[in-house]
């Protein structure tokens, strides 16, 4: 749908976005507050950021979080890709309904339930809780998100492109690797990014499934948040937001550059053709 935007439309979009962004903006601004009291503006300062770097425990937690996120999102993307192929391409096999149920249910399942159930599994089989149990838990949750992202792309994928590859002599595996995968690559990358941020972000499931040696950054933040609002937490939060914003900007710019390059190519080809 498109049409002329009325004032009502413009206002509601503006208000909606203000609601989404003002809390984050305030948080960022107050992370540069020199005063320890949140409500008193004591002038600009970066002293809370300097303090962060010296906080060894925090750095250690950040390192654990990052490692878990990289490993779990990578495995989750592979598993999610397989699950997406099963959901879109394999129409009849025993237990298909159960399978799609298991892919979609974790998306809405309250985290306390998922976390508790995984913990009880690890206890039942006698796994020591720590880095690997946490990674397994995150992989399970995020593979479902990855599967949903990739299957949406596979659904509107023109199957005749794959058929053309096979008609031209490529085996199914080859045509998947040479044709399908490159075409759906953007969705695979966004699936990975989604899995990565979900893992970075998770607090509830991590609290259940991790052990003493592997405290994550969200867990650290949570324990400090419970004690009240402090400029240090504002500073960590701002850093985390900054990393994401940077990533998004880089992604957007590189996409734009690719488009510009393509246009330039077209012009060059046209000029050559004359």
């Amino acid at each position: 749908m498109k049409g002329r935007m009325t004032w009502f439309n413009v206002t509601s979009v503006a208000l909606g976005f203000a609601f989404l962004y003002i809390p984050i903006l305030l948080l960022v601004i107050y992370s540069f507050n020199d005063s320890k009291l949140v409500t008193v503006w004591g002038g600009w300062s970066t002293r809370w950021y300097a303090g962060l770097l010296n906080n060894e425990e925090l750095m250690k937690a950040a390192w654990v979080t990052l490692r878990v996120a990289v490993v779990s999102s990578t495995i989750a993307t592979v598993l999610g890709l397989l699950a997406a192929i099963v959901l879109t391409r394999m129409n009849r096999f025993p237990g298909r309904t159960l399978f799609s149920g298991m892919v979609f249910a974790p998306l809405v399942m309250p985290e306390v339930i998922t976390g508790l159930s995984l913990l009880l599994l690890f206890v039942a089989v006698g796994f020591d809780r720590g880095f690997w149990t946490l990674t397994l838990a995150h992989t399970t949750l995020t593979m479902c998100f990855a599967a949903v992202v990739i299957q949406a792309r596979l659904y509107d994928f023109d199957k005749s492109v794959e058929e053309a590859a096979m008609d031209l002599g490529a085996s199914p595996l080859k045509s998947f690797m040479q044709v399908t995968l490159p075409i759906i690559a953007p969705s695979v990358i966004s699936a990975w990014l989604l899995a990565f941020t979900l893992s970075l972000d998770d607090f509830v499931i991590a609290s259940f499934t991790t052990g003493p040696g592997a405290t994550t950054l969200p867990m650290k933040i949570y324990s400090q948040v419970r004690l009240g609002v402090t400029p240090e937490i504002n500073a960590i939060s701002t850093l985390m937001i900054g990393v994401v914003a940077l990533g998004v900007i880089v992604a957007a710019l590189s996409q734009k550059r690719a488009m510009v390059r393509q246009q330039a190519e077209t012009r060059a080809v046209d000029a050559g053709a004359k």
């Binding site: 058929e163 008609d167 044709v179 190519e265 077209t266």
Partner: protein
Amino acid sequence: MSVATTNDTMPAPAASPSAKKARRTPAPQSSFAPWKDPNATPIVRFENVTKRFGSFVAVNNISLDIYEREFFALLGPSGCGKTTLLRMLAGFEKPTEGRIIVNGKDVTDLMPYERDAVNMMFQSYALFPHMSVERNIGFGLRQEGMPAADIDARVDEAMGMLELKQFAKRKPHQLSGGQQQRVALARAIAKKPRIMLLDEPLGALDKRLRQTAQFELMHIQESTGTTFIIVTHDQEEAMTVSSRIAVMDHGELVQVSTPGEIYETPQSQYVASFIGDVNILECRVSNVLPDGQLELNWVDGTGKFVAQPPPSGATKDQQVWLALRPEKVRIGLDRPATDVNAIPGKVENIGYLGSISHYHVAVGNDESVTALRANASLAVDNTINWENDVWLDWPADAGVVLIR
């Protein structure tokens, strides 16, 4: 009696197939007819092929031979099974029953990538969006493990044939529809298949571009000597390009003949009305004349007709249908000399198309017949107008007697 008007975009059904045929090959049509030669071996043979999807029968027990260098058209409305038949030949669908033999070899159980004699051009073109034109065209050759230099030469040749050289480095989305269509063709042709399959290859092009592309297809088919099998729902396209047409309906072959035969001697009402415009008069055989001709009584009005019998013959009192092409029906204000093959009527509607006019004439018991007349002169004396009482007549060899 009914008037079937299947294709209004075809102003002169009589002229188009024969005229375009004449332009096509300098050699007379009859010289190439391997299907008439009992010793010729077909390059493609469908043997009692049936394809069911669940309870739906897409293709029902079809047996069909196609010969080398033919330009063979599978023609029919959507859902008639023509695409399924083509996809079974390419290997994307497996027949439920029957065998498919290509070049003397049973390929029924081979996967698409194992059928090197066959390549397909897809309706959606199915170009690889992440590869340039030349990489697209070379894709099939790379699968064979051909040396790079040979691939380059073949790709170059294919691009030359389809005038794509200046677009070699472009991605598919940087091409127009017509250019994409040529890349899709070049990609399949580069594999030098014995048989090219084309699934509605020109369906996405506009009418003007489509005509150019039809001649291009014919040119490539002749210059490479490849057997082409095309699936289309466009009867004009099938008539233009093909050496033989198989008309399909509900998963079955209705008639397999040359375009001329299909148009001039259809074997059923379905074929007659699917190709071009036709008037169909329901009749009963009143007499079989000594010279073999049939005397017919018109069911929906008073009229006595004489016509050639169908190949299978006809007996007295049999129900038959007389198919009359509009351009073979003469329309005039005066009563013809003989009562045979002549009926009176009143002009209901006139469609003026410039070079010709369609006259829709009410005849018999609330029936209607269409006649065509060339607007050859500007003379006004014989002008036929709305509401005029007119006479329609035709020679004995103009109509075709159909028994179904």
